[in-house]
Amino acid sequence: MHQILILSGKGGTGKTTVASTFIALSQAKAYADCDVDAPNLHLVMGSFEKEQKSDYFGLPKAVIDSSLCIACNRCFEVCRFDAVIPGPTYRIDLITCEGCTYCLHVCPVGAIHTQPMKVGDLKLYERGEEHFSTATLTMGSGTTGKLVSEVKKQLKSCTEETEVAILDGSPGIGCPVIASLSGVDLALMVAEPSVSAFSDLKRVITSARQLQVPVAVVVNKFDMNPTITGEIEVFCFKERIPFLGKIPYDSQVIASLNKGENLACLNTPASNAIKRIYDKTLQVWKERVQQ
C-alpha cells in the first residue's frame, strides 16, 4: 500500500478540504484521518454502512491507595511530571501522569499500583469496498503520536491490497506529525500565503526531509496574498520541491462544506484547481514510486 499524506504545518489551511476532494476523485478505497487531536474528515465523508469502534488504551497510569499511603513524600520527590498531589494522603493527577512508574518503584509501603486508562476510541468505517480509519482522543490525554500510529496500522491491516491510501495529516511538527509521516510515499503540503503559514511550512518540510519523505507544495487561497504566493513558489524552486498549483479563495467552498457536499462534485474555481492539482500529485507520486 502506498500512502499519500496531506500536511500543512499550520492548521486551517485546507488540508481536510483537499484530502476529501482527493478521496472522491481517486475513488480511494482506503483513507484515514491522522489528526486525532481534532479530527474533521468524518464530517464531510457522508454516512457509512458499518462502524466499528474499539477502546484505545494508553500507558497504564499510577494510582495511590489512600488506605496504605503514609505521606512519606518519596513519590512526590521523584515525579518529574508534577503528577503527585501531596496531602494527608497523596493523590495522582491522571491528566499529567505519563505512566513512567517511577513512583511505584520508590513507594516504601507498596501503596501505588497502575491501572489501565482508556485514552481514546479507534474507529473503522466501511462502505462497500471503502475503509476509513480514524480516532478520537479522550480530552486531556497525551498519547497522540501512538494513536496516530494505531489509526494507520488499522487501515493497513484491512486494506493491504489497496494501491493508494490518502491520509489527512495533523498540524505542527511534534509526535503526531512524525507518526503521520512515517512510511509515507509523498507528503503534499497545503500552505496559505501568509508570513506565518510560510514559516510553518518551512519547519514541516524540514521535518519531512529528516524522515526522508518526499514533499510537494500547493498554495490555498493564493489570491489573499499573491506576493507571498510568489515567494513560496520561488522557495520551492530553489529547494527543488515540486510546486503543484494554486487554489483561489472561493466563498462557495464554505457553503458547500457546511451542506456536506464534496468539492469533487462542484464546478467552481477552487474545486477545478484542486482537480488539476490531483492529476499533478498522481504524476509526482508515480515518478517517486518508480524511482
Partner: protein, 285 residues
Amino acid sequence: MPTDRTIAVLSGKGGTGKTLVSVNLAFVAQHTTYIDCDVEEPNGHLFLKPSYVQEEVVTVGKPVVDQTLCDGCKICSKACAFNALAVIGGQLLIFEEICHSCGLCMHICPRKALTEVQKPLGIVRKGKSGSIAFLSAEMRIGESSAVPLIKALMKNKHSGLTIIDSPPGSGCLVTEAITHADFCLLVAEPTIFGAHNLAMVHELATLLGKPCAVLLNKTQQGANPSETYAKSHDLKILGSLPYDQELAHRTSEGLVASEQSEKYHQYFSQLLQEVEDASNPHSQR
C-alpha cells in the same frame, strides 16, 4: 484597569485566528505579557516583531550508559514504560527520541551504569515589543514533546494581564498551556469543522474547570454552525469578527490590524474589555 488575569486564546485547530486575536489583544492592552505557547510553529514574533533581550536553551535530561559498568542485565529496559531502552547483543541502546526523561532507569540500575546528561530541546526567547513583554519558544525540529518548553515559558510569567497564544488541538501541549490560565477565549470559524473543533476545546476547558467564552471569527452570510453550537450549550458569545479581505491581507503580511486601523483598534479594545469583564468573577455585569 490593572488586572492580574491570564487569558488563554485557543481554538481546537490552527488557522482560525488565535494568533490574530492574541496579538491584537496584547497590542490594545499594552503593558501586558504575551506568551506564544505554539512552540512547534511559533508565529507571534512575526506580528509583534519584538527585540530580544535574552535567549535561553531549554534542556531535558536523557540517560547515557557507561558500557564498562553495564552488564546487560535488562532491569532498566524491562522497567522503561516507553520502550526507550533495549539490550541488543549484550549492549544497552538508548532511543532518545522516545525517552520521556522520567529518570527511572537511572534509579533502578543496580550497577549505576546510567547517568543523566542535559540535551537541548529548544530555545526560550524573552523580548519587548513596545511596552509588551514578549515570550516565545521554539522546539528543535525532530523532537517529539515540547511540554518542558511550555513549562519553562510559564516560569517567566509576570504579574499583570497575560495573554497566552495556545498551541492548536486539544492534546497535552494545550492542556499544559491552559493549566495556567484563568479564562479561555475560544476562537471559532463558521464551518462544520469549526463547530466540531469548538466543541472539543469547550470540553477541554470545562474538564480543566476554566471559565470560557467564544469569539466567532471570519463570519459571513449564511448559517454559522459554531454560533449554533455556542447558543445550544449556553456558551457566551463575546463578539464576532466578519470575514474581511483587507484584514486577511494585512494579517498575511504580518501586520497587527489594531496598529494599522482605528476601526480594529476600537474593535479589539472593546473585545478586551468584554474578556476582562467575563473573566472577572466579581464582575457585576
